[in-house]
Symmetry: C2
Subunit: 137 residues, 2 copies
């Protein structure tokens, strides 16, 4: 089974887990790490590295990150040198998290990264767009 | 200026705001409402309705919701009957929130809903996909 590590600014990653708990309950091998205002980048890197080490014991690891190009993302990319089997997907949202949690059994981590991206994009819907499409159909 | 109301399960909406604060600081007219385990759906509806009323005083309102088809979303859709100018976008993520915060000045709410969807989808990137694309280029 693929383990999931959520890495974000502020309480975003913890907030995602709290929403997930409300919908599908506690899940094994799903961990959140947050960069707080008082944390240094080095501290965050140490915490992310340690979490990857721990999660790697029981399976491969998919990192779901809040924002492309910012510090949490940059740390994850840097850690690929040490953990080459890591996969990283940015722009975490709840549809992405729920779909990866439900599909991670028996899925290679590369495949789960694709599932994460697709579920995340498909879960973004504008009510106006949907009504326009319905009016045209 | 368009005001933003984030509605979610658990602490997701508050977590999004906390990440936003870390990156761009406090923002006027950006409010989070969360459905907790002990809340009733009616209570949530009352809180969302009151927040829309309050935010509508100073501008139009864009609702950014965590998940299509679940209770927070259904409440928002129901409230369109009362507040017909509302726009609703689901699958909130940090790129969506940051882009709407930065672009909401002088933007009609319908246009901002499109910007939100596009920024949300564009912010979802898989490192593997990016490396595959770079290798093909």
């Amino acid at each position: 089974m693929v383990n999931l590590l959520l890495v974000s600014h502020g309480d975003l990653a913890d907030g995602m887990l709290s929403a997930m708990h409300l919908i599908v309950g506690e899940q094994e091998g799903v961990v959140a790490i947050s960069l707080k205002e008082t944390d240094s980048i080095d501290e965050l890197e140490t915490r992310v590295d340690a979490a990857i080490e721990e999660l790697s014991v029981s399976g491969s690891v998919l990192l779901l990150v809040d924002l492309f190009g910012a510090s949490p993302f940059n740390i994850c990319v840097k850690l690929i040198a040490k953990h080459p089997d890591l996969q990283v997907v940015t722009g975490i949202n709840l549809p992405m998290l729920l779909e990866t949690v439900m599909q991670r059994e028996g899925q290679p981590v590369e495949e789960l990264a694709k599932i994460a991206s697709e579920a995340g994009r498909n879960g973004i819907r504008s009510l106006q767009e949907l009504m326009d499409q319905a009016a045209q159909a």
